[in-house]
C-alpha cells in the first residue's frame, strides 16, 4: 500500500514509517519539525539524540532500499497538502501531524488557540484534499482515549445504543475531555465523523491510550533510525517520564493521589494496531469507525511500582513520590473502556510490561547524561488554573496501603 504519514518526524510518526517500511509498504511523509521546536520551548530535548530528517531519510533508504518521499512544510497550508496528495497518491493517510500535549495547550490563551487551530486546520486540509483528489483514500486519524474523560459508566468504542424516554437510538458517546488539547481531538473527531457522513469518506479514528517505549525492533542498532523520546512535562507521558526519572535516580512522580486509571500500550503495540487499521480499511464509502487502542487499563501507582521494581533489579535506586496535581482531574474514579475492535482484527498485545520497561531502562541508561542535563523539566509548572508555578511535593504515604484501601488492586483485576 501507499501510506502517507503526516507528522513523520514525531514519536509515533518515525517509528510508524519504519514499521510500515519493514512490511513492504511504500511510505511517504510530511513534517515541519514543530515537535522539535515545542520541546525546545519547554527547555528540553529528546533523551535519544535524533538526527536531522535528511539523515533519517538516508538511513531509511539504506535499510529498506526504497526512497522515503518527504515534504518539509506546514499542513495548515492547503496548497502544500494538495501538492503532497497529488504527488504521492496515497491509499491511506495517517494523521499524526497534530500538537499532542495537554499541558502545552494549557499554558495561556496563545497556546490554547495554537493547539486547537493547528489541530483543526490540519485535519480540515487533509479532509478536503482527500475529498477532491483521492476520495477513496483511508484516513487514519490519531485521537486519544482522553476524549472520553472519566465517565461513571463503561466507555464503548465511539458509539452506543441507548434508550431515553422509551425510544432508542445509536449515538456518538458523549465526550468529556480534560484539556484544550484533548478537546481539540474531540473537535477533530466530530469533524471527521461529519466528513464521512456528508462526503462518503472512509476513516478510522483511533482513541489511543498512553504510549510508552523507547523503540520498536525495526530500529535495530542504527543510530540514525532512533525514535525520539521526550521526558519534559509537556511531551513526556507518564511511563516514559518514570523511566527517565529512574535512570538518573530522580524519584518517580505521581500527580496527586495517583489513583488515576488510563489505558496504556507499548510503542510496538501502537505500531501493530495502527498497521492493523491501515491493512484492514473500512469497506464502505462513508464508513467512520472508532477504535479504542490500548493494551490494558492500569493505575498510575501500579505503573510507577513496576518501573520501581524493574529499576531495582537493575540496581537503580528509585523512590516514588506524590506531587501536587497540576491538572484538574479525578484521582479516584471508575474506568472501564471497551477495546474489542482491534482484538477482532487480530491485535496480539505484547503483554509483558516489565520486559518492555527493562528495554527502556537499558536504552535510556545510555543517555543518562542528556536526561540529567535537563532534569529540571521533570517537575511540572504548567497548572490547569492558568498559573505557572512548580508543583509542591506532597507528604509521603504508604502507596500499597492506599491501593488496598481504594480498591485499585481489586479493580485492576476486573478491568
Amino acid at each position: 500500500m501507499r501510506i502517507f504519514v503526516a507528522g513523520i518526524d514525531g514519536y509515533l510518526g518515525w517509528s510508524l514509517a519504519l514499521y510500515l517500511g519493514a512490511r513492504g509498504h511504500e511510505v511517504g511523509g510530511a513534517d515541519n519539525f514543530f515537535r522539535r521546536q515545542w520541546v525546545e520551548e519547554m527547555g528540553s530535548w529528546s533523551a535519544t539524540p535524533i538526527p536531522p530528517m535528511q539523515d533519517r531519510v538516508r538511513a531509511f533508504k539504506k535499510r529498506f532500499g526504497r526512497e522515503l518521499p518527504f515534504w518539509n512544510g506546514d499542513l495548515r497550508e492547503y496548497p502544500l497538502v494538495e501538492q503532497m496528495i497529488k504527488e504521492f497518491q496515497p491509499d491511506a493517510l495517517v494523521h499524526l501531524g497534530e500538537c499532542p500535549s495537554a499541558p502545552y495547550s494549557m499554558v495561556d490563551v496563545q497556546h490554547a488557540v495554537f493547539v486547537q487551530t493547528n489541530n483543526i486546520v490540519t485535519t480540515f486540509n487533509l479532509l478536503f484534499a482527500i475529498r477532491d483528489l483521492r476520495p477513496n483514500c483511508h484516513l487514519v486519524k490519531l485521537g486519544t482515549m482522553g476524549e472520553y474523560g472519566t465517565p461513571d459508566i463503561d466507555i464503548p468504542e465511539g458509539f452506543f445504543e441507548i434508550e431515553f424516554r422509551g425510544r432508542r437510538d445509536t449515538l456518538p458517546f458523549p465526550r468529556q475531555a480534560g484539556s484544550w488539547y484533548h478537546w481539540s481531538k474531540v473537535h477533530g473527531s466530530n469533524n471527521i465523523m461529519f466528513a464521512c457522513r456528508n462526503w462518503g469518506l472512509r476513516a478510522t479514528d483511533v482513541m489511543q491510550g498512553v504510549v510508552f517505549g523507547t523503540r520498536i525492533d525495526e530500529i535495530g542498532d542504527e543510530p540514525a533510525l532512533l525514535s525520539r523520546f521526550d521526558f519534559d512535562q509537556c511531551f513526556g507521558t507518564a511511563v516514559n517520564r518514570y523511566c527517565a526519572q529512574a535512570v538518573i535516580g530522580h524519584p518517580l512522580t505521581l500527580f496527586g493521589k495517583g489513583g488515576q486509571r488510563r489505558g496504556f500500550l507499548p510503542l510496538r503495540d501502537s505500531m501493530q494496531c495502527l498497521t492493523l487499521a491501515l491493512e484492514n480499511p473500512p469497506q464502505r464509502p462513508g464508513e467512520y469507525r472508532v477504535f479504542n487502542q490500548f493494551e490494558e487499563v492500569y493505575d498510575l501507582i501500579s505503573l510507577a511500582q513496576k518501573v520501581q521494581k524493574v529499576a531495582r533489579e537493575m540496581e537503580l535506586k528509585v523512590e516514588i513520590v506524590r506531587l501536587e496535581n497540576p491538572r484538574k482531574e479525578l484521582e479516584e474514579h471508575y474506568y472501564r473502556p471497551d477495546h474489542k475492535h482491534l482484538f477482532d482484527l487480530g491485535y496480539k498485545p505484547s503483554r509483558d510490561v516489565e520486559a518492555e520497561l527493562r528495554i527502556m531502562l537499558g536504552d535510556l541508561a545510555r543517555y543518562r547524561d542528556r536526561i540529567d542535563a535537563r532534569r529540571d523539566v521533570l517537575i511540572p509548572d504548567i497548572r490547569w488554573n492558568g498559573k505557572r508555578e512548580k508543583v509542591r511535593w506532597l507528604e509521603k504515604v504508604d502507596l500499597e496501603d492506599y491501593q488496598q484501601k481504594v480498591g485499585l488492586k481489586a479493580d485492576r483485576r476486573r478491568n
Copy 2:
C-alpha cells in the same frame, strides 16, 4: 447591569442593544462588520437599509440618553478583547460575534477553516479575558439547536441522565451537527463547558432555534435604529427568506420534501429570552447551563403555508415550490426537543406567528425594490457535496396531501 454585546452590528446584536437599552441596562459592544462583508460576498445586502455604526450609536444615544461604548475590531485579536473587558468591566457578555451561516461554511476549505477558527478563537479570547480580568462576568454564548441534529430520541437541554450496562451517569447530550458551521458551535459549547468546570466561570449556552422577524418594538420608526434583514442563501433563514420572496412575488422555496422540523422563534422572543438569561445569571461559580431557546417546533411546509396565507390576505400572489435540497439532511424525521428552562424563568412567548408575519410583510413591502434587485440570491447554489451549482426546481406536488401522509399535521399538535 453592564452588558457587553460582541457582534453588536449583527441581526441579533443590534436589536439586543436596543432591547437592553430600553430596559435601562448599560450596553457596550464590539464589531468589525464582518457580517456586512459576508453578505456582500454573497452578492446581497440587507433588505432594510441599515446605516453605518456611527449613525446607529448616535441614534441610540438620542433614544436612550446614554452612550453606547463601541469597539471597532476583530475579536480574534486578544489584546483588543483584553482592552474591551478592562475598559467596559461587564457584568455579562453576550457572544454574538461568530459567523452564523451553515452554507457559508460549506463553500470550500477556506470558508470551512475561516468559520471554525473564527468561532473558536473569538470564544477562546472571551473566555481567557473573563477568567483573567472579570471572573464573575456571566458569558451568554449563542449556540444553535442545530448542534443536536435530528436524533431519533427526545432532545434534552444539554445534559441527560442515562443508564448504560447497569450504571447511571449524567452526561452531555451527544451532538450530531449538519454543517461545519453547526460543528463550530458544538466545538464552542464544549470549550465553554470545560472552561466553566476547570476555571469556575459562569455561562449560559443558548441552543437557539431559527429566528424570524423584521423588528422589535424598541426600533419604532427611527430609520437609524432599523434591524438588518438578510434574505440570501447564506444569511437569510427560512421564514425570513419566505417573507422576502412573498413581497416580490417569488415562489416560497422549500428544500426537498419540506418535512424538516425545527424550533422557531420571533426576533422579539429571542430578545426576551436572552434578557431572561442575562437577568437571571448562574448563581454558582462553575455553573454551565444550556437553554434550548425556541417558541415551538414547526415543519417548513407549515411555515411556508402560514406565510402564503398571510400574504394572500395582503393580496400578494404567492406559490410554494420545492427545490432540490442543497443540504444533506433528513427531510422526514422525529423531532422533540425540550424547552423548559426559559419557561421556568418566565418566558412568555408572543405565540402569534401570523401577526408577526403580517408585520414582516408590511415592513418588507417598503423595501421590495431592494429585495427584487438581489432576487438572484434567493435560490441557493452552495451544495453540501462541495459543488457550486444552482439547485433545480422539483415537480409540483400536493403539499397538504403530503403533510397528511407523513403525519406532519398530527405530529405538530403533539410537539
